[in-house]
């Protein structure tokens, strides 16, 4: 699933990878792949993650991981960092999700009464990246679908999600709601539909597997 998501990065893109699963996408890119990775605490050109022994105390990503630079990296302040996001220079962001609505709504920052650490930079990434894709398990720990007709949790941004990568499938989100694009090996389209909390369009052609 992470390897499949890595193919979403096209040459020349500026990309922000959210904390957690998305961060691991970089491990699946060729060393000379032309892409610019952004982290919202003020860096373009993220290099490999470093151990505590190798780390520079002043150089982290927005998730707190110790990272490094590449030739051509630039540091800047938090205003410039989000200027980049809001003004349309971020081609792609990959985010986690609590829920995704069939209308593209994303909820990933708050569970009222349980989890409310603040929205951080997620709202601007979700609302302003030119393309927003979600990486998530298809269901929550209790087995409930994360893909729903409408989100029930407080939204991060409305109508922002273009594609979802899960452990079961790749699903596009568009005018007609959820559409199955690919399935994981050993997973059938009907299994994906059963685990999805909203209608799932299943093309009649044979779908690729990942």
């Amino acid at each position: 699933m992470v390897a499949r998501a890595a193919r979403e990065l096209k040459p020349g893109m500026v990309v922000n990878l959210g904390i957690g699963l998305p961060t691991r996408v970089v491990n699946h890119l060729p060393a000379d792949f032309p892409v610019c990775l952004h982290t919202e605490n003020g860096l373009t050109g993220i290099g490999p993650t470093l151990s505590a022994e190798q780390a520079d105390r002043n150089l982290i990503d927005a998730g707190g991981a110790y990272v490094s630079t590449v030739p051509g990296s630039a540091f800047f302040d938090s205003a410039t960092s989000f200027a980049l996001v809001r003004s349309g220079r971020l081609d792609l962001t990959m985010l986690g999700a609590f829920e995704v609505g069939a209308n593209g709504d994303l909820a990933n920052w708050k569970i009222p009464g349980k989890f409310s650490p603040g929205v951080g930079g997620g709202i601007e990434l979700a609302q302003k990246a030119r393309r927003v894709v979600v990486l998530t398990t298809h269901t929550d720990r209790a087995g409930n679908p994360k893909l729903k007709d409408r989100c029930s949790l407080p939204l991060t941004a409305k109508g922002c999600v273009a594609r979802i990568f899960t452990d079961m499938a790749v699903i596009d989100v568009g005018q007609g709601g959820f559409t199955l694009v690919e399935t994981a090996h050993e997973v059938s389209p009907s299994e994906v539909a059963d685990a999805t909390g909203a209608p799932l369009n299943i093309p009649e052609t044979t779908l690729p597997r990942f």
């Binding site: 605490n41 520079d56 982290i60 927005a62 540091f75 302040d77 938090s78 929205v119 609302q127 939204l155």
Partner: protein
């Protein structure tokens, strides 16, 4: 003409902070957090503070000391995820917390530093973050009024400074520091190296000293500045 000298002791600079003050604190995670100034503020003891900071650091680090000492009544921030203590105080009603989208907090502070009344933005429209905000119809769109933020005091951390208060940051320790260093009536900078006038190249200064009121040299860095082993 020569540029004025603003070098100061940490204690003398921090002693100016009054009860009820609004205090901006630089940093995003460990990098750029002015741990030594924060510790001095804990010793100074000013209370009923409104603190403006991206995050609340981690338990027993940075502004968590101010939270634990009960000096903070209000926190304007973006994310408390790494500090369960701050979340507990918020949920218990012992501190009031105002959450901002991260880039909007940055812009509100920058607007304060730029002498603007505020900015107009569409960030958060359609979400609960927009609730209660003034809306302006402009050019066929609805935009939210995000008021400028200024503080009585800003505490910032620089890698290098000169005695006029020109500041240079390194790596991701820049973050909110240059913004806050413009946005307070009294800007106090701690610097790992405090250098003579002319030691910083005029093209490579991140915060012009004209915005800074006091600059203090750090001695050996405390363990709070070190790499965190998780």
């Amino acid at each position: 003409m020569k540029l004025p000298d603003k070098s100061s002791s940490i204690e003398a600079a921090i002693a100016q902070i009054k009860d009820g003050a609004t205090v901006m604190v630089g940093g995003f995670g460990v990098p750029g957090t002015p741990f030594t100034l924060i510790q001095a503020l804990v010793r100074h003891g000013a209370r009923d503070l409104t603190v403006i900071k991206n995050d609340a650091n981690e338990p027993d680090m940075g502004i968590d000391h101010l939270l634990q000492s009960g000096q903070v009544s209000r926190l304007i921030t973006t994310h408390l995820g790494l500090n369960a203590n701050a979340i507990r105080l918020m949920n218990a009603g012992e501190i009031t917390v105002e959450f901002n989208a991260q880039g909007i907090l940055a812009e509100r502070i920058r607007a304060g530093g730029a002498g603007l009344g505020g900015i107009l933005s569409d960030i958060g429209i359609g979400t609960e973050l927009a609730e209660g905000k003034q809306v302006v119809a402009f050019d066929g769109k609805n935009l939210l009024v995000e008021p400028a933020l200024r503080a009585d005091v800003a505490l910032v951390h620089a890698a290098r400074a000169d005695t006029f208060g020109n500041l240079a940051y390194v790596a991701t320790a820049q973050n909110f520091n240059p913004l806050m260093a413009m946005a307070a009536d009294c800007v106090i900078a701690e610097a790992e190296q405090l250098l003579h006038l002319g030691a910083l190249a005029a093209n490579d200064i991140h915060t012009p000293g004209v915005f800074v009121d006091h600059v203090a040299a750090l001695g050996a860095l405390s363990k709070e500045y070190a790499v965190v082993r998780r």
